[in-house]
């Protein structure tokens, strides 16, 4: 038997899928060929990872519950629905979390905006948005001077 043939048959051999007529020549080849024997050992090593673990826990009364639901006409689709619902609940929890984060971020932004606005506003009571206010007195004086000038026309420059 050629090594190439032997290698392709090793998985089936290790899985007990070969007839004795097929397994016999392969077994002989494995005795004679160290590299192919190594391949078979390699697969056996890998299969050891699949050792049976402890049995899964079956809840008490499971069979009775299922039989009762079956007789009540539960088709099983309800359970699938429940699974979807469970997924929905998980989605709902996620949505709540996202909404809470969004609300917190919005609140933070609002507070930040108010803070920035406060910092941007003029803080001194003497500062006014009307730039003419500080010179109001001067404006009144100017007005008064004009009035006085009108009352005394000689004081005005002569017209050309």
């Amino acid at each position: 038997m050629e090594c190439q043939n032997a290698r392709s048959m090793i998985p089936s051999y290790c899985d007990g899928e070969l007839s004795e007529a097929q397994a016999g020549p392969l077994r002989q080849h494995l005795l004679d060929c160290q590299p192919c024997r190594g391949s078979a050992q390699d697969l056996k090593n890998l299969k050891r990872w699949f050792a049976a673990s402890e049995a899964a826990a079956v809840p008490h009364g499971f069979a009775a519950r299922v039989a009762r639901r079956a007789m009540q006409g539960d088709t099983g689709e309800l359970v699938a629905g429940e699974a979807v619902l469970r997924t929905g609940e998980e989605g709902g929890r996620l949505l709540h979390f996202v909404l809470a984060c969004t609300a917190a971020a919005a609140g933070l932004m609002l507070m930040l905006a108010i803070g920035v606005r406060q910092l941007g506003l003029p803080q001194s009571p003497r500062i006014s948005a009307d730039p003419t206010k500080p010179s109001l007195e001067r404006a009144l004086q100017d007005l008064d001077r004009i009035n006085r000038a009108e009352k005394a026309p000689h004081a005005l420059p002569k017209k050309p």
Partner: protein, 194 residues
Amino acid sequence: MEQEATDDTCLVEEALGGNQASFQLLVERYEQRIFNLIRHYTRNPVEIEDLAQETFLKAFRRLSSFQRQSSFYTWLYRIGVNTILDSLKRRGRSPVQAVEDLEAVPAASSASSPSPSATLEREEIARITQGVLEELPEIFRTVLVLREYEDMAYQDIADMLGISIGTVESRLFRARARFKERLLQKHPEFGNES
């Protein structure tokens, strides 16, 4: 085994006639194996129970289509596997998508396969294996579970998954290669042993 099959057929007949106790007996007979099967796909106890329940309820609904000449367990098992795969699809982990991964699987590594250390407890080996299996595409995980844990013959796996024996062989080959690769990536400490 033959006696069990006969009993199963009788119980199926009685359950079809509306006998709740008979169906309960069928569930009790196979609940452990179905729970064990599902546990290879999820570790969440609530989810395991949901899927097991769904499997048995679907089985009851389709009980009239059960062919008496085949094993009840093989028939039930097929429903269980399909229920699991449907659930994985619902959760967005489509086994169909995973088929594309077949092309991405590298050829079997020339490094020798690690063997679990003699000092590792059985449960520790199971935990490591489960962790690696969870990272494999569903189609690879399923053939490994059916072959290695359920000790199913290639023909039975082919029948259950609706694929050819040749596909079972090639999928199993690639699944083992991927398992070995992921095992060594996650646990390089095992690479020096064997």
